[in-house]
């Protein structure tokens, strides 16, 4: 149980998982349903329960097409795709993973890059 993480994910997604009435319409509509180990409706339900560990390990987050069909059709104003996106971001941002090392940066730098991009990239990935 990781409530803090669940809170962060909820905030990032801007969705209130408690509004979900467990109808499963999101999973009924999802075009990638069969490829997902954790289904869209389960994302919402696990966030509501604060069980984020399973989500962070899930392969589903890399299968979601962000087609937003689940968001469009949800009768309760819940956005499963936004939750998936937030989990994806959380995984990317976890310290020690996927970060950009300062010494590796120069080889990618294009002189045309605005400085701001570099600064924000460091902020985002090099905690």
């Amino acid at each position: 149980m990781n409530n803090e993480q669940a809170k962060i994910i909820s905030e990032l997604s801007g969705t209130n998982a408690k509004q979900c009435m467990k109808c499963g319409k999101c999973s009924g509509r999802c075009p990638m349903f069969d490829s997902m180990d954790i289904k869209p409706h389960q994302f919402v339900s696990l966030i509501a329960k604060g069980q984020t560990d399973k989500l962070l390990e899930s392969k589903s987050i890399w299968y979601c097409l962000s087609c937003m069909a689940c968001v469009e059709r949800c009768p309760r104003g819940v956005a499963p795709a936004a939750v998936i996106e937030a989990v994806r971001e959380s995984v990317i941002r976890v310290q020690g993973q996927n970060q950009l090392k300062a010494e590796e940066v120069p080889q990618f730098v294009d002189p045309e890059f605005p400085q701001q991009i570099l600064v924000s990239a460091f902020r985002k990935y090099n905690r």
Binding site: G24, S27, G28, R29, R73, P75, G77
Partner: protein, 663 residues
């Protein structure tokens, strides 16, 4: 000089936990004019009231302030208490220290100070109160029921049974409403028409009941006990008195393209028609949009064939004006629009239908004579999928936030009837929750599952699409955690219900309140469920909220009981807190009459003495105290300050404001 008593209620711990009641009583006891103050655990209890009565007598009180809950709760109680101790009931003021203080504050010091201020405010007002006497008005012993569905019919029958006259105004050409369209009724599966039409006939034959069909309420004036209502009788182009309902006009009418509303537009009807065989009144009507004679002037076939000579193409809308003591709203419901739900393909596929359309397809008097054939090709559907909660419990903005209540039961009914009549049919039901509270309801639903083998799938449908003539219903099966697709021949949507749209106009005419979903608001959700907050207006059936037939009939009878209670009175006590105009200050400008929502103000020419034997005639405002509801709009609008509201005079309000501001 007044002698005021202050009574501070603890309301158990409701007030006493947050407000120092002893300190409130002591501090207010020091106020000028106050000769007695006390606190008590429950002021509204028998003992609490006795305390007030004793104090009034022993201390010779001329007015009392009760610091307690909202005046909406117990003002009437304490007025009665005061009256029984010989005080004028309008010498009672309530300081609301529960809803406005203890329930919303946490800090005891802050709450206590505020309670003292509110108490002081009430004292300031009471010092300027004068005893008021309520007048009386008569009651017109006749009721109006707006809407002729099962709710309106039951209410009208019950009122008539008690011996009072009732008029039913129905906007459609016949009474019967939605129930007349249904095939069978749950949970007993008796046919809707078999139980409804005898009641319709009772209405027609009851000499106390007058049915004004194809009519609408146009204007409402007056107040409880004395309403005057103008009713528009829409032109039928047929003389109701002459028409025998033989139906010859229907068979000869060459215009057959009108959509049959009674059959949910599933087939067509002629321009001259009787909605259904058992219609009451059994009188035809001509649809001016479809009638060739009315549109082009050429035709007149029905007129030539009509033996009763009932056809009258020149008929115009006519108006009747009648007086009523009480008005019942029974406007009913309709199926909500599905335009925001294109995932179910309702607009694109003829074989995606609503449950009400299915009722007509299964009804022996319907377009298929009761044989279940799908609309696109008139073949028998072998796989039927039901989808529940279409547009209900939806807070996305596309649907309705409420549960429509009846869908779980009628879907179980449809599924069962289909499996009974056509055992070779596969029936699937997608559900979110199955809600079947009610006598014999859950047993009914379980029968559908256990005896009739209906396949209930926990999950919602994501989309319906057409593939090679099959309707592919894709949804989730949450219990097996799968996404499934069912190739179906017919898809039935349990669409949300919503109040009949005309109720908005009616609520405005009646100055009664309506909620965000267009359901009419009751006076009290639990304790006064069939009365509206506007005196003399009552609610019956679906206009107040979703409900099934048994519940509608119970509510309709409850509503009738309330109406009978009102009509049985010979006199009604009026509210004495009404407007009064000071002739010497009135300039006759007409502003107050313009803002008065009740039409209570008229103008009269009055003769005034100028002195020296001279007189002058001036136009001044005159308030009909029986009509005035004491809203106070006129007092605000009056430019010369001539109009004042008894019990809430400008002086009293200003004294209250000063008391609030004083530190």
């Amino acid at each position: 000089m007044q002698r005021i008593g202050v009574f501070v209620c603890w309301c158990g711990s409701n007030i006493a936990a947050t407000v120092d009641v002893k300190r409130v009583a002591e501090t207010l006891g020091q106020e000028p004019g106050v000769v007695y103050s006390a606190d008590y655990q429950y002021m509204c209890s028998e003992n609490g009231q006795q305390l007030i009565k004793t104090a009034i007598k022993e201390h010779g009180l001329t007015g009392i302030v009760v610091c307690s809950c909202s005046p909406r709760m117990h003002e009437a109680t304490f007025r009665k208490t005061a009256e029984s101790a010989g005080l004028n009931p309008y010498m009672v003021e309530i300081a609301n220290i529960r809803e406005q203080v203890s329930w919303i504050h946490k800090d005891i010091e802050e709450a206590t100070v505020k309670a003292i201020i509110l108490g002081r405010t009430a004292i300031a007002k009471l010092l300027l109160n004068t005893p008021l006497t309520a007048g009386e008005t008569g009651v017109t012993k006749r009721a109006l029921v707006i809407g002729g569905g099962i709710a309106g019919i039951q209410t009208a029958l019950d009122i008539a049974e008690a011996g009072y006259e009732v008029d039913i105004v129905e906007q459609r050409p016949t009474i019967g409403g939605r129930m007349a369209q249904l095939d069978k009724t749950f949970p007993t599966l008796d046919c809707a028409a078999c139980i409804l039409t005898p009641k319709m006939v009772d209405c027609a034959q009851n000499e106390k009941i007058d049915i004004l069909s194809y009519s609408e309420v146009e204007e409402v004036k007056g107040f409880v006990g004395n309403f005057t209502v103008k009713i528009r009788k829409k032109a039928r182009y047929i003389d109701e008195k002459k028409c025998t309902g033989c139906g010859i006009c229907m068979s000869v009418c060459p215009s057959k393209k009108g959509l049959n509303e009674f059959n949910m537009n599933l087939n067509n009807r002629p321009a001259a028609y009787i909605p259904f065989a058992q219609a009451i009144p059994n009188v035809a009507v001509i649809d001016p949009e479809q009638c060739i004679k009315l549109k082009t002037g050429k035709c007149g076939l029905c007129s030539m064939k009509c033996e009763a000579k009932a056809i009258d193409y020149t008929q115009q809308d006519s108006f009747v004006e009648r007086n009523y003591g009480a008005i019942v709203v029974a406007t009913g419901f309709k199926i909500a629009d599905l335009k925001y739900f294109n995932e179910y393909g309702y607009a694109d596929n003829k074989d995606v239908i609503t449950s009400l359309e299915l009722e007509r397809l299964m009804n022996a008097a319907g377009p298929t004579k009761g044989t279940l054939l799908r609309p696109s090709d008139n073949t028998h559907p072998h796989v039927i999928t039901f989808i529940q909660c279409v547009g209900s419990r939806d807070i996305s903005g596309c649907g309705k936030p409420y549960c429509s209540k009846i869908c779980c039961m009628y879907t179980a009914k449809h599924a069962m009837l289909i499996r009974e009549k056509y055992p070779d049919t596969e029936v699937h039901v997608f559900y979110i929750d199955v809600r079947t509270p009610g006598k014999n309801y859950d047993e009914f639903y379980r029968r559908a599952v256990e005896q009739y083998d209906v396949d209930y799938i926990k999950g919602m449908v994501g989309k319906v699409y057409n593939e090679n003539g099959k309707l592919m219903v894709q949804g989730s099966d949450l219990l097996s955690n799968e996404q499934i697709t069912i190739a179906s021949d017919l898809v039935v949507l349990a669409a949300a219900i919503e109040p009949e749209p005309s109720v908005r106009k009616i609520a405005t005419l009646l100055t009664t309140s309506i909620d965000t979903n267009n359901f009419l608001t009751e006076a009290h959700a639990k304790l006064r469920p069939v009365e509206s907050p506007t005196a003399g207006i009552f609610l019956s059936g679906m206009c107040q909220g979703p409900k099934d037939i048994p519940e509608t009939v119970s509510q309709a009878s409850a509503c009738a009981a309330k109406v009978i209670g009102l009509l049985a009175k010979d006199k009604l006590k009026c509210n004495p807190c009404v407007s009064i105009s000071d002739d010497s200050m009135c300039i006759g400008c007409g502003t107050c009459a313009n803002v008065c929502p009740y039409g209570a103000i008229t103008y009269v020419d009055k003769e005034f003495r100028l002195g020296g034997g001279k007189t002058e005639v001036r136009r001044v405002a005159s308030v009909n105290e029986a009509v005035c509801q004491g809203c106070g709009a006129c007092t605000v609008a009056c430019p010369s300050g001539a109009i004042d509201l008894k019990g809430f005079t400008t002086k009293q309000i200003m004294a209250e404001v000063e008391a609030v501001c004083k530190r």
